[in-house]
């Protein structure tokens, strides 16, 4: 059975010693009152929730999976998931970084980022239910009409309702320009939406009383390709003007996917059969609106692999300290025992340190990114807001691809540390590896991220964003050059003729 200890000290190190977030946040009127103790106390409680409530459900959720009752299209999440979600809602966790206008607690994204790392270390499949809700919240917050905000945001903030993003169809995933789901305008201003969606995470379940689907579809007069896609809110149960639940909408789960991992999350095929929806944002501009959710989700996916890397590392290093096998090459290190703990062996150390490096660097990168998001949203200085938005746009595909590609390598290393035991279900490592594999695929495959990085983010503005990032690095190096602990690397002999890389 794997264990998990929330890495609070490591988070505090990045938050307070590396980034000094309290000082940075003080400049933002929305967060001016926030102090270090509050941040630490919230994370301590959040860590308890993660480690004590949802971590114990992770292996059972993997083995049990979700089940669909074809008679009524209802899906049951694994045992304990619903009760844990009720505690999550009761504890006010969904509201952590939501807008106070809709009932949110208004805490900064840096806090939510650390919280989500711990949730994902504890149970990626479970965390996808609130994670997608939060993405739907952000999309509606940015692009919803006043009425949509009034109807949906308070319930998404409280967690009483959850959300999804419905993009993929059987014949199109990456190439959304090919999507066929149709939206027909009705006299009352709503739309009737018909089509089939697949791979919808948290697409149907029993955790919450309503599910708010954000659905991409085409209007009758839509141009071909990705410029003819519109975004709609399609709730599972229609919502009356007073906010109470109305009749069941015509969006049904037609099947659940059998997957390599994340068995505890219901990956649904959804059939829309004239389901009632309302338009979000402008007609034919749905993809741009959905990208608010997608960018949040991409950072979220990077955080999923960060969480898995951390928990896999914690367990592998504990195993390596206890498992006795062979002697150190440099002579016995535990002479009183029949063999040395395997942590003495260089290759075991290399694998563990690789995982640790990815976890620690990944944590630093994601918290730094979250801080840029807080500044992008709340800085009183427009130039700062623009710079931060640029930096977030630049690093989003990096957070997604770098953390998931390297998380995959790191978790595979951690499994390898266990030898044959790593391949056995009860130890938990093979689940982490299976769960982690999806992160390189969904929310845009990692190659799509590289196209986004190079095509849009670097070449799209002739390197302007990249230069902003370069200046940050240059400034950091300048400030640290006097630090004796970071000596300038000596030039290697024989390479004088080459461009120095440092």
């Amino acid at each position: 059975m794997p264990q998990y200890t929330p890495p609070l000290r490591d988070m505090q190190f990045v938050l307070h010693e590396v980034l000094d977030v309290t000082k940075e946040l003080k400049i933002l009127p929305a967060h001016a009152e926030l102090d270090t103790d509050t941040i630490n106390a919230v994370l301590e409680e959040g860590g308890k929730f993660a480690a004590e409530v949802i971590f114990p459900l992770n292996q059972g959720g993997d083995q049990e999976g979700c089940s669909l009752d074809p008679a009524n299209h209802e899906v049951r999440a694994p045992g304990g998931f619903k009760e844990a979600y009720e505690r999550y809602v009761a504890g006010g966790w969904p509201a952590l970084s939501c807008d106070p206008e809709y009932g949110g607690q208004g805490l900064p994204h840096v806090v939510n980022q650390c919280f989500y790392e711990m949730l994902n270390s504890s149970n990626q499949a479970w965390t996808m239910y609130p994670g997608l809700s939060h993405g739907a919240y952000e999309c509606l917050h940015a692009h919803g009409t006043a009425e949509q905000k009034r109807l949906y945001l308070p319930k998404l903030t409280s967690g009483e309702w959850t959300g999804t993003m419905c993009l993929t169809e059987p014949h199109c995933g990456t190439d959304l320009g090919m999507l066929r789901t149709k939206a027909e305008p009705q006299a009352d201003g709503t739309y009737h939406i018909t089509g089939q969606k697949i791979f919808i995470s948290a697409g149907e379940h029993d955790l919450a009383e309503n599910i708010i689907h954000l659905v991409l579809a085409r209007l009758p007069d839509a141009p071909q390709g990705s410029k003819g896609i519109s975004l709609f809110v399609v709730p599972k149960f229609l919502v009356r003007p007073d906010g109470s639940l109305g009749s069941r909408n015509r969006i049904y789960c037609g099947g659940l996917e059998h997957k390599m991992g994340i068995h505890g999350n219901a990956t649904a095929q959804l059939v829309l059969d004239g389901a009632v929806g309302t338009l979000v944002g402008e007609p034919h501009k749905g993809l741009a609106a959905m990208f608010v959710m997608m960018n949040a989700a991409r950072l979220g996916v990077g955080t999923q692999s960060l969480g898995l890397t951390e928990v896999a590392y914690q367990n592998a290093v504990a195993y390596a300290r206890e498992r006795l096998q062979s002697r150190a090459l440099s002579g016995p290190k535990a002479a009183d025992k029949p063999a040395d703990p395997i942590i003495v062996h260089p290759d075991v150390r290399k694998m563990l340190l690789t995982a640790r490096a990815y976890a620690e660097a990944g944590r630093a990168l994601t918290i730094w990114t979250a801080l840029q998001i807080d500044k992008e949203i709340h800085s009183p200085d427009e130039a700062v807001r623009r710079d931060c938005a640029d930096l977030v746009a630049l690093v989003t595909p990096i957070v997604k691809a770098f953390l998931t590609d390297n998380g995959w390598i790191a978790i595979s290393h951690c499994l390898q540390v266990y030898g044959g035991h790593g391949y056995i279900r009860e130890w938990g490592m093979e689940q982490y590896l299976r769960d982690a594999r999806i992160n390189m695929i969904y929310e845009g495959t990692n190659t799509i991220q590289s196209l986004d990085l190079l095509g849009r983010k670097v070449l799209g503005d002739a390197g302007a964003r990249l230069k902003k990032f370069g200046k940050l690095v240059q400034s950091f190096v300048g400030r640290r050059s006097a630090n004796a602990g970071i000596p300038r690397a000596p030039r290697r002999p024989g390479r004088e003729g080459h461009q120095a890389h440092l």
Copy 2:
């Protein structure tokens, strides 16, 4: 549902056009009569068996797994496995490269190597049952007493009985010097063996009427560590002098492991409770004797990942030719269709070509290695036998580690080609990846292979084996230097001061 086509033409290319095996084998008296048509015909039939009999059982075997009846310690393999094994035996396949003295067909290892690649492409979990039997056959053939050979080899050759290797115990895998299983000598010359073994592949099942376990254990007077380990034959049912089955031996399956993959193979915990065994080889020299089996198994494990890489590649390339998504960067390639097949995209091509390179190079390396084994066994020239033994020893850890590490990367690429569909069970790719993960661990983790390569094989004889291999490479380069198709790479400008690598 994945598909599989035996790569007969690719095998023939390596066998006949690259290695000219018929000419090489003609020098060996045991294979002087063998011609190209016979080799090709055997492989064509072998490919049919693999693709038509065991490939269709692969996904079902993964989903069903093996089951243990705790009441009688009997294990049932997944549906169809037993019937397929009966056809395997009826077809004479176990005997392919076995010694005619014990009923074998005496075909060379190069043929068996190609056959096993196809079996592993079709169903790794199933193939482990006959694969381990063949390892037990080789170990007893090399180190068994005349009586052991008489009793066991004909039935292992025919496939009526299967075999296992019992090394690992709960507290030791890599460090076999720590093993505790005890063997007490009896007045009748047998031993009573008591202990617990874990991770025993094909350790208990219903495919054959008897299972011949090769068990490492300690004699009462055994020195500490790996120099005090002896090897024993411990049959599931004792064998009477006339070869008929006697009473049930006291070796029982105490549990089956729940694993990431190879669900169709029964990975057993075996309890020995005074089980009757006979000594193989010299007392305290069991590890050396077991290494005959282990070396065969290491080449076998490399072949497992080769097989999985090939079948994953075949399916990924077929999918990439059919799946339409986005346009080629250089302009539409299938203008009559709504999008281009994804094989036009550079990253998809890179992933596919990586997998293909590992499959083709892995095939060439394994067949070349098998040819060296044939020459090691059958060459009339002692110096050739010694040189070939050296080369096989040198490349064994490379075949094991290089093919399994890179197979893992390649199969993950092939899964990625499918996008989200790669994560879905029905497409089959995620099973190939799960099955492949064990190959980097068992029969000595890949780091153990690197220690074997560097410590024993390269430094152990001060580089003598490595120089033999280097001469082969040098000779190849010399013979090919006039080939206009293999031009000498031009020196890169600016690197004149460095040692040229080519």
